[in-house]
């Protein structure tokens, strides 16, 4: 399937759909324990990562905490 991941076209071979949990593993997304996932413009609940699925044409954003600023 073809996804847009963080704005880039990304192909995932041999898969028609994937759970968000499997997508995180397949793409080897870093810091999986606390990354926020936005699927087609909606922020997903972490509890829904197993249940939510992605399919061809979906847009996925991985959003990370960024803590620096002052020190």
């Amino acid at each position: 399937m073809q996804l847009t991941v963080n704005g880039k076209q990304t192909s995932i071979a041999d898969q028609e759909t994937l759970s968000v949990t499997s997508l995180l593993e397949t793409l080897q997304v870093s810091q999986r324990e606390y990354v926020t996932v936005e699927l087609n413009g909606e922020i997903l609940d972490r509890a829904d990562f197993d249940g939510a699925t992605v399919k061809s044409g979906d847009a996925v954003e991985f959003l990370y905490f960024m803590g620096g600023g002052a020190a």
């Binding site: 963080n6 704005g7 810091q31 324990e33 606390y34 926020t36 936005e38 413009g41 909606e42 922020i43 609940d45 954003e61 959003l63 905490f65 960024m66 803590g67 620096g68 600023g69 002052a70 020190a71």
Partner: protein, 269 residues
């Protein structure tokens, strides 16, 4: 209403149709709180002072350290050891005598933040730790104060403006702070010195636009920046119905310190 000197000082603003004399008056009457007088806070405070924002609050308990000077451009070598808010106040008032700087030499906490925030029109988060970032979000959402979020690490930065009730807040994206052991901070992971200049200047722009009532704010959009690839991206962020503070059934109704995130950053450096 302006002195000759002010007309001269602000002439390049007054020429802009989006600012003009009326807008410059709004800036001079404006009150902006900058939390953190470090990497982000330096360009924010300098540009707000130069722009003639009349009252600028500056909150930071820290003192200037030699390792700060690579990026915290409001502090100079002779300031090492001096409280950051006082070092910054000196530069801002020397730059522009129209500006009143109110220093708060303290960390913001659940006990003091509401009292500080209430006197300002707009708040800017220039802090370096998640406890403060979540606290600022919560205080601004509960007090209905618009604010600018900013974060930087290594070569990456992100910023978003929050207008409570209208646009997504920080907790719409990140409901809870990360566990403290997993997040690197600038003091551990490093940061390229020019990075807070880019992000802080964007945050100051948002405060100025808010005071002017001009243009479009960076609401409902997370702007991300990568300095190595020199790319900006914008990610649309909707209000999250399940947000614990601004969602449909909020679980956070009063301020609290995020104890688990308290030690995320080495606050000494």
């Amino acid at each position: 209403m302006f002195t000759e000197e002010q007309i001269n000082r602000y002439s390049r603003h007054i020429l802009l149709k989006e600012v003009g004399g009326k807008g410059q008056k709004k800036l001079l009457d404006g009150r902006v709180l900058v939390i953190g007088a470090g990497g982000l806070g330096s360009p924010i405070a300098l540009y707000l002072a130069a722009a003639g924002v009349g009252t600028i609050g500056l909150a930071d308990a820290d003192e200037v350290d030699l390792s700060n000077l690579q990026r915290q451009v409001i502090h100079f070598t002779p300031d090492v050891g001096k409280p950051k808010v006082l070092s910054a106040k000196e530069k801002m008032e020397a730059m522009n005598p129209d500006v009143t700087v109110r220093p708060y030499q303290t960390w913001v906490t659940a006990d003091n933040i509401a009292d500080i925030v209430k006197d300002y029109d707009f708040v800017i988060d220039g802090t370096d730790n998640f406890a403060a970032k979540f606290l600022i979000n919560d205080a601004c959402v509960l007090a209905n104060k618009p604010y600018s979020h900013g974060g930087i690490l290594q070569f990456d930065g992100q910023t978003m403006t929050v207008v409570p009730g209208e646009s997504a807040c920080y907790r719409c994206i990140f409901p809870e702070p990360p566990p403290q052991e997993v997040i690197p901070t600038c003091s551990q992971a490093g940061v390229i010195g020019v990075l807070p200049g880019v992000l802080g200047t964007i945050q100051a722009t948002e405060a100025i636009k808010f005071l002017l009532g001009a243009g479009e704010l960076l609401t409902g959009r997370l702007l991300t920046y990568n300095a190595l690839r020199m790319r900006f991206r914008e990610i649309a962020i909707k209000k999250n119905a399940k947000c614990p503070i601004c969602g449909e059934s909020p679980t956070i109704t009063e301020l609290r310190d995020e104890v688990n995130a308290m030690n995320v950053c080495d606050l000494e450096h």
